[in-house]
């Protein structure tokens, strides 16, 4: 069984604080936890919410109906009340009596600990108790969290948690939370998993211009900079960011920048530069709905084709599209490795939904395990940067040693110097493009979830992994023969293998967070697919498994 707790209220009211207390406690208890965030583009006010789905079996995406709604404002209750499942309960932050449970959280906090600041703790305590969970684990968390503050803060919070618990005492039993089934403890969000992976893998230079929803990774890396030895610098604009990373990778350290679609649009020229100069840059793009500024704090999957073709001229690139928090960790490393193996730009395409998604997974290794930069250290005076090879990959030396390293944005000869000779131009272009062969051979194949011979095959990429898996399970439970193929890498594609992986199901449905079906377009363009159905959602909200399953059955 599973259940979703939704904390909803204005920005600045502590939606996040309450939610994170619960996420920490519930994960520690050993529940499966998957939390997602919905927030508006403002710092105070508006209507934000935080959904914590808990279960006794692995969870992959957001839940469908809300089991417990903690409505911190009247608006939250009005707008979101109807999404509460039958049998669900509403805890309303007021004495007005519109909820199933009505508590003036701030008043309770004030009364209990003489501070309205702890009202979040009251709410967390109430929810824990309501679902029949031991409040002790929340108390432990509070102790850890406020270890550095004075004793009064800890005791005040603990008293508030208990007070919250007491206030729902008469309701306990009405709604039972799922049973803990795992060894608890670790919860990560996509941003943290990506940032951690980059740090562990040896990113040494990070620069970005802040842009939602990519700022989480940037902030994580700024926080981790001293520990891992990273130079983190805020750029004056995205053009500076991508060009700085080009410089850094040329000089010899793994570099990375992160942005969203609008910022990435400004990086297209720099991407082309990295392609021409053969620099192993990594750009992380966290998608949000466009065009233009669009909905800055929402989610979407509209930039696949743009990412694939961004930059003038033709050059090889790889695009990874992690689908889970675990993949955020795994594929960030893989992106860095691919960039260095092939000396060409690599993109990581993610989105608000996944960046903010928290998931209870096993502990991620935080010990440095630097990737191999694949540089040559013994190059001598006769070194040339762009030697023509079968693989398209040339020995890469870095400046400072005996070899002079000459890189050019113009067409160049093997020695890196500018040329207008057309034979050299073609030879170098062919050399660069040959990398695609190796990159294709090494590319991640789409992963199948469900039976080999399923009649209906869902195609998904990126963050739709979780909702897609859940949809398959729901469909299967209803006797529908369905499976899913998820693309964790969308470029390059091993055409024959992908064709084989798709097989010939009765129905093929591309499930995408955009309105034109970009994965389907891509697959058609390489000849993997002819016709397929589209199931799209471009509301700014992620899919849920139930939504997909339902729309497929219609």
């Amino acid at each position: 069984m599973d259940l979703t707790i939704r904390i909803a209220g204005e920005a600045g009211q502590g939606v996040l604080t309450t939610g994170q207390l619960l996420v920490g406690s519930l994960a520690e208890l050993g529940l499966e936890v998957l939390a997602t965030r919905s927030y508006m583009s403002r710092v105070r006010g508006g209507l934000n919410w935080y959904d914590i789905r808990i279960g006794d079996e692995p969870l992959y995406g957001p839940g469908d109906k809300v089991g417990v709604l903690v409505a911190l404002t009247d608006e939250a209750l009005e707008v979101l009340g109807e999404e509460v499942a039958s049998g669900g309960m509403i805890l309303h932050n007021t004495g007005s009596g519109k909820g199933d449970i009505n508590i003036d959280l701030e008043a309770v906090a004030k009364e209990t600990a003489d501070s309205t600041l702890y009202s979040n703790t009251v709410a967390a305590g109430a929810v824990m108790a309501l679902l029949g969970y031991d409040i002790g684990v929340l108390e432990g968390l509070l102790k850890k969290q406020f270890a550095k503050k004075d004793e009064g803060v800890v005791s005040g919070n603990i008293a508030c948690a208990r007070a919250g618990g007491k206030l729902v005492a008469d309701q306990v039993g009405k709604l039972k939370g799922p049973k803990p089934t795992r060894k608890g403890g670790w919860v990560y969000d996509g941003s943290t998993a990506m940032g951690l992976s980059a740090a562990v893998s040896g990113v040494k230079f990070v620069t970005a211009y802040p842009m939602t929803p990519s700022t989480g990774v940037f902030t994580f890396l700024a926080g981790a900079a001293d520990e891992y030895g990273i130079v983190v610098e805020q750029a004056e604009d995205e053009i500076a960011a991508v060009n700085m990373v080009c410089g850094a990778t040329y000089a010899g350290v793994p570099g990375m920048t992160m942005t969203s679609g609008g910022g990435f649009a400004l990086m297209a020229e720099g991407l082309s530069l990295a392609g021409m100069m053969e620099l192993p840059i990594v750009v992380m793009i966290a998608q949000r709905p466009g065009p233009a500024t669009g909905l800055p704090t929402r989610t979407g999957q509209q930039d696949l084709m743009f990412t694939l073709y961004a930059g003038h001229g033709e050059f090889p690139r790889a695009i990874f599209t992690p689908g889970s928090v675990q993949q955020c960790y795994d594929l960030t490393r893989r992106a860095m490795e691919t960039a260095h193996e092939y000396q060409t730009p690599v993109l990581i395409l993610t989105d608000q939904f996944l960046q903010d998604m928290e998931h209870s997974i096993d502990e991620l290794d935080s010990q440095p395990r630097l990737i191999d930069r694949r540089i040559v250290t013994d190059a001598g005076e006769d070194y040339v940067r762009y030697a023509v090879t079968d693989s398209g990959v040339s020995d890469r030396a870095i400046p400072g040693g005996e070899a002079l390293v000459v890189c050019d944005s113009d067409s160049h000869t093997a020695d890196g110097h500018i040329t207008e000779d057309m034979d050299a131009h073609v030879e170098q272009q062919d050399k660069r493009m040959r990398k695609l062969k190796g990159m294709t051979a090494g590319a991640l194949l789409p992963e199948r979830f469900g039976a080999e011979d399923a009649e209906t095959l869902l195609l998904t990429w990126g963050s739709t992994l979780g909702p897609g898996r859940e949809a398959v399970a729901l469909l299967n439970a209803k006797g529908v023969s369905a499976a899913m193929l998820h693309f964790g890498q969308v470029w390059p594609l091993a055409v024959d293998k992908v064709k084989e992986a798709i097989g010939s199901p009765k129905r093929i449905i591309s499930v995408e967070g955009n309105c034109t079906g970009q994965l389907a377009t891509l697959l058609r363009s390489v000849g993997v697919l002819t016709e397929c159905e589209l199931l799209t959602n471009y509301t700014g909200m992620p899919f849920t498994g139930a939504e997909i399953a339902e729309r497929i059955q219609k």
Binding site: G255, E269, R369, I418, T419
Partner: protein
């Protein structure tokens, strides 16, 4: 089609100021004792920006307008390299204007040599940010109407670590100024170099500059911001050249705790060694 032969020589016009600039630059590198293996010649796109191909060193010839961020990334990854930029007035002050503003604020330790010919040379003669008012071109048919950009004054205002101007027609002065920039250790060094473009700038000719440039006296105190600013604003019958300004700042790379001991490149190599 083989057009290679023509590429080995500088692709500049006969009589272009870039020739003596290149020659002097080479001399200055020698005089300053720069190890060519530790030298990275960064540039954008333009006539000026081709210079790195015509001398010896590591080369990063990047995008038009983007030499500064590339150089910043290089310097931060390996601050033990000597990172120079050769750029045009369009490259550095036009397309690259925002980086110019912010790199000086950052005080990243790169040496910037701007071949200031007050025109877009490579694209055949449009006005540049430093073109004089009234200059007529095929685009600016009624003459330039925007006030010229004053890079030195802006740099001084931003307390740029070293700010200088020179002229290709005063080779000793130019060499000495370049050496001063190359030897500078306090951060961002800007040398704006007046460079005649006989093909497209028929106004600010060699002679025009020659008649006007005047070295600042030995008594000039480059720590005096107000005086420096006044000198930088002078553009007319007399154009002051020399090191106009120096500020007391610590370079950006020297403020990074992570770089206190080793460069990032050294750290990576060390960590790799530890693992393998």
């Amino acid at each position: 089609m083989k057009l290679a032969e023509t590429d080995t020589k500088p692709a500049w016009c006969p009589g272009c100021g870039n020739y003596s600039l290149l020659k002097t630059f080479d001399e200055a590198l020698e005089e300053a004792g720069v190890d060519r293996h530790k030298l990275v010649l960064v540039s954008g796109i333009g006539q000026a920006a081709k210079l790195p191909h015509y001398t010896r060193g590591n080369v990063f010839n990047g995008l038009h307008g983007r030499a500064l961020p590339a150089a910043t990334g290089i310097k931060l990854s390996n601050h033990k390299l000597e990172v120079t930029i050769t750029s045009g007035d369009g490259d550095m002050y036009g397309e690259g204007g925002n980086h110019f503003l912010h790199a000086i604020r950052r005080n990243i330790g790169v040496k910037v040599f701007v071949h200031d010919n007050q025109v877009y040379g490579l694209t055949k003669g449009q006005a540049s940010p430093t073109s004089d008012l009234g200059m007529v071109t095929k685009i600016q048919k009624h003459g330039v109407m925007s006030l010229p950009f004053n890079p030195l004054a802006i740099a001084i205002l931003e307390e740029c670590s070293l700010v200088a101007r020179s002229f290709v027609g005063e080779r000793d002065h130019l060499r000495a100024t370049m050496v001063a920039a190359l030897k500078h250790t306090g951060g961002f060094a800007l040398v704006d170099i007046l460079q005649p473009c006989p093909s497209f700038n028929k106004q600010n000719t060699f002679k025009w500059y020659k008649q006007r440039v005047k070295p600042v006296g030995d008594d000039h105190d480059p720590r005096d911001k107000e005086v420096a600013l006044r000198l930088a604003l002078r553009w007319g019958d007399e154009i002051p050249i020399g090191v106009l300004y120096r500020s007391e700042r610590v370079s950006f790379e020297n403020q990074q705790t992570v770089l206190a001991e080793k460069s990032l490149v050294e750290q990576y190599a060390a960590a790799e060694g530890g693992i393998s």
